[in-house]
């Protein structure tokens, strides 16, 4: 409670008067003989009780009368807010937090919820008095304060509110509420308040109130909730779009998984339209039950290599921003894989050590419609091949290689090629170490130095398993899921003991700890060494079900490793990447509205440069362009967070500490009046005057109420 004229409170000392009258005021009695006091004594007992009550009531009435007189003069203000309990001439410091997350983009009764919110913010700022300080913040993900310090400049604040755009991002309450509180905590001399203007979506508030104990917020700071948007509208949204293929090749059918959410109380039917590079390609009708999420798969074929823009859209509703979703996919030509198998010995049948690799990469032996085009060559034939045509080369159990081939392999590897080397009984460690490592200097081929053979593939008396599989590597990540098989169950009877290079990664160990599979990034390419054979002579892995996915994943990871993959991000999230300086010429970001923003790069070590951008506020397809837009270096999609589509409102009673400031147009007090009431409280002087009048009348009547008939 606060008082406009607090000095009148000294009048409360007047309470002493009725107390004195009650306790000490007595008339001087007269003495009188009476025949017998029998009846008088009986009457006195009864009357004394009644009189006591009457006098007490009179005293209370008089005290209340004095209190009301004092209250009426000192003009008390009362309210539920902490501000209302402060003196009315104390200046106010407050923060207006405006929710501009995507969920605010829907309409309520034909009016944009976000525009309503801005109007509320302006109404609140309008109540800013001279001496008051304020700032404006945004609630999205991540939220921020537009002015990091409080300001007296009301006009600037109002202008900034007018310019706030609707964000396509999610809602992170903590990122704006906590800085606002931090700003207000030191301002003890002010009346302090945080106004949160929001649509109160449950998905954004629940994590916040679960993580932060709002009851611990300093009691002197008022948290005021200004709800907008009314009840949650029915909303149907595409909450996910992805290609269910590890690598996408031209001409190959790829399932596109579209996830729809029906956030309404009735089953709804809609049509999904898939567009590739802004051309309508596919349509499919789908019905989604009430309050459920449904996946559907639509087969698509890509014709263009490189980055492609895929979008899925449904019919527009009250929340239009989640009715379309984007996806950036890189499409490859079918990969050509070169297997260099051991030369066949004269008079012997053709060497078939490549058969298991060949089968794994093309199980149906198809000449087309296969991810990998596998070519098996002898060393002689390989020497004549143009290695640049191949996405990867597999060296299988080679004894000696021609030095020219070695040189070409080294150039191929350093230039971005991929090499997988399988061991076998033909491998001579000394020759390998000398010719494939030592003699090549910095352009060496193998990721590990080779030593002796371990185990006996003839007797098969002892078998080894692979352990410590690197689940983070794409080659083995697929096996991390339950039911996807376990490469560790394969038996390896013989292998080479190797020592990985310092920069090499150990992807798998043998069961007694020696390295099993080693990989190293070499130049722009990758080299993998598998310490056992590619056929079943040293291991039974090639006949186990995990062999095929291992090879597929390994090659796909090698092929895609050099591509700048950003994928799908949320609006407002920063995008950054490190690329070679050769690629980083005149980098620009092409945004969904076709505007281009030049990207600034920072030069790093080893010819690498780094770029970063936060211009990702729009939903849609973004391209990172190089060489003045001539080359598409990469692309990514920005999509709203799925939880923003869930528009269910949270009950205000679930949010502690917040005082509601609800307003419905044309009903009750205006927002300005409500803000003023919350800040200053209700002026009780009028009510006190009315109560005083009534009490005075009552007291007058009661005090003069005859307790006995007077003697005529």
């Amino acid at each position: 409670m606060s008082f406009a004229s607090p000095w009148f409170l000294f009048g409360l000392l007047g309470i002493a008067v009725p107390i004195y009258l009650h306790l000490y005021y007595r008339k001087t009695p007269v003495r009188k003989d009476f025949p017998s006091l029998r009846l008088i004594k009986l009457s006195v007992e009864f009357v004394a009780r009644r009189k006591k009550m009457r006098n007490l009531l009179l005293m209370i009435l008089r005290i209340i009368t004095i209190i009301l007189v004092v209250m009426a003069l000192s003009r008390p203000f009362i309210g539920q807010s902490a501000s209302a309990r402060s003196s009315s001439d104390t200046p106010t410091a407050f923060v207006v937090l405006l929710d501009n997350s995507m969920s605010m983009g829907c309409t309520h009764q034909g009016i944009s919820v976000f525009n309503t919110a801005k109007s509320r913010a302006l109404d609140i700022l309008e109540q800013m008095q001279p001496g008051d300080r304020a700032t404006v913040g945004l609630i999205n993900d991540p939220g921020r304060l537009i002015f990091s310090q409080l300001t007296w400049d009301k006009e600037t604040l109002q202008k900034s509110v007018g310019n706030i755009p609707l964000s396509m991002s999610g809602t992170n309450m903590a990122s704006s509420i906590l800085p606002a509180l931090k700003l207000l905590v030191p301002l003890q001399a002010y009346r302090r308040a945080v106004y949160v203007i929001t649509d109160m979506t449950e998905s954004s508030w629940k994590p916040f109130i679960e993580k932060y104990d709002l009851a611990k917020v300093e009691p002197g700071i008022d948290l005021i909730m200004v709800p907008v948007g009314g009840a949650a509208p029915e909303n149907m949204a595409i909450i996910n779009l992805e290609a269910e293929a590890p690598v996408i090749m031209t001409g190959r059918q790829v399932p596109l998984k579209v996830t729809l959410a029906n956030h309404s109380q009735r089953s709804r039917r809609t049509r999904i339209t898939i567009s590739i590079n802004d051309e309508r390609k596919l349509e499919e009708d789908i019905e989604v039950e009430a309050n459920t999420v449904k996946d559907t798969r639509i087969m698509a074929t890509f014709a263009k290599t490189g980055m492609n823009h895929v979008s899925a859209a449904i019919q527009s509703d009250a929340m239009p921003f989640d009715d379309q979703r984007h996806l950036a996919v890189r499409v490859f030509e079918p990969c050509r894989i070169l297997l260099i198998k051991p030369d066949s010995t004269a008079g012997q049948p053709e060497n078939r050590e490549d058969i298991f690799v060949k089968f794994a990469l093309n199980p149906l032996n198809r000449s087309k419609d296969n991810n990998f085009a596998v070519e098996s060559r002898s060393t002689e034939e390989a020497r004549a091949s143009d290695l640049k045509k191949y996405a990867a080369v597999c060296l299988i159990n080679q004894r000696h290689l021609d030095l020219e081939l070695i040189k070409r392999l080294s150039d191929y590897l350093m230039g971005g090629g991929n090499l997988i080397t399988f061991m076998g009984n033909r491998v001579e460690p000394e020759w390998y170490n000398k010719n494939l490592i030592d003699d090549l200097g910095g352009s060496y081929l193998l990721p590990a130095r080779i030593y002796k053979r371990v185990g006996n593939a003839v007797s098969r008396s002892v078998d080894y398993q692979m352990t410590d599989l690197d689940a983070g590597h794409p080659a083995f990540s697929i096996f991390a899921r339950d039911g996807s098989g376990d490469p560790g169950r394969a038996q390896i009877f013989e292998f080479f003991q190797v020592r990985p290079n310092p920069t090499a990664m150990l992807l798998a160990r043998m069961s007694h700890g020696l390295p099993g599979i080693v990989e190293e990034k070499r130049g722009r390419g990758r080299s993998m060494l598998i310490t056992f054979s590619a056929d079943t002579s040293w291991t039974n892995w090639p006949v186990r079900p995990t062999w095929l996915p291992f090879l597929h994943q390994t090659l796909i990871s090698m092929i895609t490793a050099n591509e700048l993959a950003i994928g799908t991000i949320r609006p407002g999230m920063p995008v950054s990447a490190t690329i070679t300086s050769e690629e980083a010429r005149e980098l620009a970001l092409k945004m969904p509205d076709d505007n281009q923003v030049k990207l600034t790069v920072q030069t790093g070590a080893q010819g690498l440069v780094h770029f970063s951008t936060r211009d990702t506020d729009q939903n849609g397809y973004y391209e990172i362009l190089a060489e003045g837009g001539k080359q598409i270096l990469s692309a990514f999609a920005v999509n709203p967070p799925a939880e923003e589509s869930l528009l269910d409102r949270i009950n205000l009673r679930q949010i502690p500490r917040f005082i509601p400031l609800a307003h419905e147009a044309g009903r009750g007090k205006s927002v300005k009046e409500k803000v003023s009431l919350l800040r200053d409280g209700y002026d009780l002087s009028g009510a006190a005057m009315l109560a005083l009048m009534l009490l005075a009348l009552f007291e007058s009547w009661f005090a003069n109420l005859p307790t006995a008939r007077r003697v005529d």
Binding site: R26, K27, T28, P29, V30, R31, K32, D33, F34, P35, S36, L37, R38, L39, I40, K41, L42, S43, V44, F46, V47, A48, K51, T707, A708, R709, R710, V711
Partner: protein, 303 residues
């Protein structure tokens, strides 16, 4: 001369002249030695008819009603009640509370004594016998009933000489009076009844069961009936000397309510038992109280 003056204090000639035409009639038949105006339960001459009964051998023939014989051919004896004299007992409360004198000219004891003397005179004048009993906390003085106007002097002397003092114990006093007065008669009790009402009623009923005629004068000062006090007052009890301070104005309605309750209690309880209850307001003329006595007696006698 002195005695005459004192006597006349209680016997207002004007008042008594106004009452001379009145007759004191006992309500029930009492035993008496002197033929008077009162009905006698015994047969006699020149007396009022009582009832018919069949003749039995031995009855005097003069008592046979021949007119009835002429109509019915049966002998009926006409019986009569004989007029006899009445024994009156004047029972006077002389406790401290009876000394109270309010706005009027007489204290309660003076008023009651005057009333008692007046009644004694009238009863003696019509040949009835009158006795006097005074009591307070216990029995103080008793004068046996006698006839003859000379006895009036003794009664008046006693009334005059009795000093008021002590608290009231009506119950015990009535017990003693009842034991002493064996002969049936009329009890006229003068008291302000400052004692337990239930006990008083109980004792009076006991007296009534012995076939005594009882008249109760509840002697009250005007102050006791109207409680005309407004200020904060220290009330001093004339009986036990105790005191109490109270706001008389606020007490008034409650006090009056209790007084009315008390009077109603006596009135209803005693009338059920055939006891006459009369309020003697000391501010009212004595004549009024005597008239009300006789009016009441005549009314019950006609019943």
């Amino acid at each position: 001369m002195e005695k005459t003056r004192r006597l006349s204090r209680f016997l207002d000639p004007k008042l008594l002249a106004s009452l001379s035409a009145m007759e004191i009639r006992a309500h029930t038949v009492v035993e008496g030695m002197v033929e008077g105006l009162h009905k006698s339960p015994f047969k006699g001459f020149n007396v009022e008819f009582s009832e018919y009964r069949q003749y039995v051998p031995g009855d005097p023939l003069r008592d046979i009603d021949w007119k009835v014989y002429g109509r019915t051919d049966k002998f009926y004896i006409k019986e009569h009640e004989e007029e006899t004299n009445l024994s009156g007992y004047l029972v006077m409360d002389t406790s401290g509370s009876m000394s109270y004198k309010g706005q009027g000219s007489m204290s309660k004891i003076d008023y009651a004594s005057t009333l008692a003397a007046s009644l004694a005179y009238l009863m003696l004048k019509q040949q009835d016998s009158v006795g006097l009993v005074t009591f307070a906390n216990g029995l103080r003085k008793m004068i046996r009933p006698r006839t003859g106007m000379a006895h009036l002097k003794a009664v008046c002397n006693e009334l005059e000489s009795t000093a008021v003092s002590e608290t009231t114990n009506i119950g015990a006093s009535l017990d003693l009076v009842g034991q002493t007065m064996k002969k049936r008669g009329i009890f006229i009790l003068f008291s302000d009844l400052m004692d337990n009402a239930d006990v008083i009623i109980k004792k009076l009923r006991q007296l009534r069961t012995r076939r005594h005629e009882i008249v109760l004068y509840h002697v009250l000062d005007r102050d006791e009936i109207s409680f005309p006090f407004d200020d904060t007052t220290i009330f001093h009890d004339l009986e036990d000397e105790s005191e109490i301070v109270t706001d008389a104005f606020q007490l008034r309605s409650e006090y009056l309510k209790r007084v009315r309750q008390l009077m109603n209690t006596f009135k209803s309880a005693l009338r059920k038992s055939g006891i006459d209850y009369l309020v003697a307001d000391t501010s009212m003329p004595l004549e009024n109280n005597l008239r009300s006595f006789f009016t009441r007696r005549q009314a019950t006698g006609a019943r």
